[in-house]
Chain length 310, copies 4
Amino acid sequence: MTRNVGIIGLGHVGSTIANYIVTGGFADELVLIDTNEKKVNADATDFHDAMANLPFHTNITVNDYSAIKDADVVISAVGNISLQKDNKEHDRFIELPFTKEAVKSVSEKIKASGFNGILIDITNPCDVITTMYQHFTGLPKNHVMGTGTLLDSSRMRRAVSSELGIDPRSVGGYNLGEHGNSQFTAWSSVRVLGQPITEVAKQRNIDLAKLDEVARAGGYTVFHGKHYTNYGIAAAAVRLANIIMSDARSEVPVSNFHEEYNTYLSYPAIVGRDGVIEQLHLGLTDDEKEKLATSANYIRTRFEDTVKDM
Amino acid sequence: MTRNVGIIGLGHVGSTIANYIVTGGFADELVLIDTNEKKVNADATDFHDAMANLPFHTNITVNDYSAIKDADVVISAVGNISLQKDNKEHDRFIELPFTKEAVKSVSEKIKASGFNGILIDITNPCDVITTMYQHFTGLPKNHVMGTGTLLDSSRMRRAVSSELGIDPRSVGGYNLGEHGNSQFTAWSSVRVLGQPITEVAKQRNIDLAKLDEVARAGGYTVFHGKHYTNYGIAAAAVRLANIIMSDARSEVPVSNFHEEYNTYLSYPAIVGRDGVIEQLHLGLTDDEKEKLATSANYIRTRFEDTVKDM
Amino acid sequence: MTRNVGIIGLGHVGSTIANYIVTGGFADELVLIDTNEKKVNADATDFHDAMANLPFHTNITVNDYSAIKDADVVISAVGNISLQKDNKEHDRFIELPFTKEAVKSVSEKIKASGFNGILIDITNPCDVITTMYQHFTGLPKNHVMGTGTLLDSSRMRRAVSSELGIDPRSVGGYNLGEHGNSQFTAWSSVRVLGQPITEVAKQRNIDLAKLDEVARAGGYTVFHGKHYTNYGIAAAAVRLANIIMSDARSEVPVSNFHEEYNTYLSYPAIVGRDGVIEQLHLGLTDDEKEKLATSANYIRTRFEDTVKDM
Amino acid sequence: MTRNVGIIGLGHVGSTIANYIVTGGFADELVLIDTNEKKVNADATDFHDAMANLPFHTNITVNDYSAIKDADVVISAVGNISLQKDNKEHDRFIELPFTKEAVKSVSEKIKASGFNGILIDITNPCDVITTMYQHFTGLPKNHVMGTGTLLDSSRMRRAVSSELGIDPRSVGGYNLGEHGNSQFTAWSSVRVLGQPITEVAKQRNIDLAKLDEVARAGGYTVFHGKHYTNYGIAAAAVRLANIIMSDARSEVPVSNFHEEYNTYLSYPAIVGRDGVIEQLHLGLTDDEKEKLATSANYIRTRFEDTVKDM
């Protein structure tokens, strides 16, 4: 019983997630897995060195797949950010040759463990990898999801809130599609100050296209300033894990499987202990619908290309 | 008013501290300062990208010393961990040629800001740098302290708790002296299971010298496994900052100025909003007293050598 | 510096608020004021008895108005719930003869203290009392607000979320007007599942009028089941205090002064360290506009009747 | 999976515990049980009315014993504080005629549910009722414990910390024996400022007997000032529940079964997910040993008298 979370991949993102869970007291059992034994043991010891000064206690297990059998949530943060080093465009597909093999292998170990909780994927390219996780683990489609545009939406909300001088939590709305270059802000879904942002933008002469750029530019500022991003994505992933464990049934834009497009893609859904419980139906504009279809098509094609020779 | 914290140095340690403060909601105003503009802006943006998914809100100011004028606490995490790269012994003095110049410059800017809160130093070599901070800022001695052996004590408590299968928070006692190679566990101060650990060790055949090694080895595991340590020290520093801001008057082993030895060194003290409020008087053994004097002497000599030509 | 909160009135509501602040570590200084010395001392000692087992420390001052001089936020929870005992309708005006005198006296003491932070009123009838607080303290209108329909909106969100099986935090929208019998749900502002609730209600055959009843019935269940309500209102008040202290600039429906109606009434606003920073402009239906005007008129009339002979 | 807590008895104590769990996000499933259906439903609705304004989500089930089958922890806060009304001495045995029948009935329902987690008793007289719970539920002795002198120890720590101007968390040591009039502070176990309190008391002319009175007087201040106590005991109980759920293996003075005295009594133990894991052996003085034996004898006798005709 009690809360059991597994994290696979203890790079910048995975270890930041683990630290947030440890300092926040969100899990009772934390299973940390990484092929770099030295790194995962370093992090585990560092967490243990923190515990005398923390309000909560967390039990940590290292590199033991059998310990995720009873996990409520497993988070995949497998990655190889060094592959992104000279990637000016920050195209997340640059990591795919590495991550696709890693994910296949991880999936087999997850499956072998008997894990039957909810799998959250952060590993990039997020939507393709999420699809692969579902494909290789055989877990129900609604039990596998990616953080997807939960991060992109937060960036959009940061840009909007900064423009208007308000709390990002008081900005509603979503970025949709691929957690990658084909994603877009569904401005028709964004509401601020009690109104559609399109209205507010007219009144205040705000250029939404520029806000889109500001949101993206923020991502680049982070990536080019430190060669990885971790705090924003960790906050998103831990919030999602907590939603699942507490069966909160919250509305979040995550990468979830859409029959209509026959692929995973980010679109808001109600998420709880049974994973994706209900998918929303936004009143998108025609232009947004087209962008979404394009993004979906791109993900599906990339997935098919990727798995056909595996 | 409300809580205002400054962090100087946004490397692995400083940014982990900032993240714990942001996710925990411990400060209302957070001032982040680093000479690497790209890095500090990357972290600030990453924190902003997290905020839509966090329960608390924190306002962040970047690279503006004037904003620390009203800070309750300023934490120095200035460092250059790359200097430690080929340092097998992990001698923290290897960073001194870099940090002494940085700290002098930072002190002048802190002084110019009009800051009159509490200064917590993490920058290594911790005791020498803490002394320098007091020297160069002119702040009252009890308003400047170093995290010192708060981390070493946590490591000792981790090692003891692991041996006995108990919560590290249920291990009392202290490591004393330099936050460096001359520090030592004052076993006479360590109590577990309602008894002095020396008694428990006899009953259970526990070799305390070995536990000392385990505590140190843990530090090496972290350092050599990831080339820096951050989570343990961040938990210690944030706990200390919270103690100060809430005027908790808690007992903690920090680097504080001791008239007797005419130097900063780590020894438990009562800490609150007025900094170091009261120094403890432990009943150390003769051997421990000697070790402490040696450690104190080492720190004082290194400080004098360092500042004489500055 | 650091966070300073005053609470005036330590009945069911005030003491529950104090406890949430103490257990959550949201304030460093907490000033508790009540005319019942025995009760306020009992609560203060009870909080002190809790502190050895809590992660945070809070300093508590009892019955000293001078200690609120530097408070960031003062919360009025003055009340006399026993007056509500045989009040089948739960008309909050039944408390007015008692509270109006209490509030005048409290206002004079607040004024004399030199307090210049933000005043949050919970005392009922909320909107009239909030108006009186502003009137008698002379604080700027945007520095005085009432919790108002923040609680009613939470009840509406609870009713809607329960009907749809989703997180109440995933229900957007507001109850407006008087925190009393003339308040109403502005259904045009309520959005769920990415759509206006009016659309969702049509699709799923949900009777919004019935949901309104469920929301109200919940309030009665609480009031008649224990003769007071405290947990819902305390969560609302503490959230509001935290928003102010962290200058979060969040969108919340609170009782704030509206020039248009020349009265305090609940309507969403952006709230931060400077109190009410910006008022929203909702696209209400004609029917809702009329209800709001009626509610505003009722509050203004009651206020004028109340103060004319004071 | 995830955290599941049951609370039986939603009076002042039980509902304050529930509220701390809900606001702190410590449980995912909370089962509330009380014979007063109106009161327990009022509290449940009040918690639901809070949730839109809280950072965490908690699912609440009311009056369904089958829902505690999978509970990690069940807390008994059954009581009838009105029986204490004219009880000048605050003798907790005054509640026994009521609580013994209630506890027998509750035990049968707990047993029937199939519950096999850890049972924490707060119901008074605590040690006798804890013994009864173990007796009637048939749960393993180490899986049943009472909060016992965890509260008395906190009161002692409050009195000591107030005398010395330090954090109560920086006062170590225990009150032992019955959670009632025969309990006593084991001053030999109390340490402050790095020394035994007996030493500090000599140096500073502190009368420990007077501190004992101050600790007790605090309890009376609370009880006579509001006719119940809730915040101190709730903090103790929730800390204990968290220790159990996170398997923290912390040292806490709880009412646990001692073979030597053939009874439950409060004495520090290591507590984790398997309940009482290890009992401490304090180096008590002869006087303290005698007091403990007297207290143990009193509890055992009262238990035997109580159950012989049930």
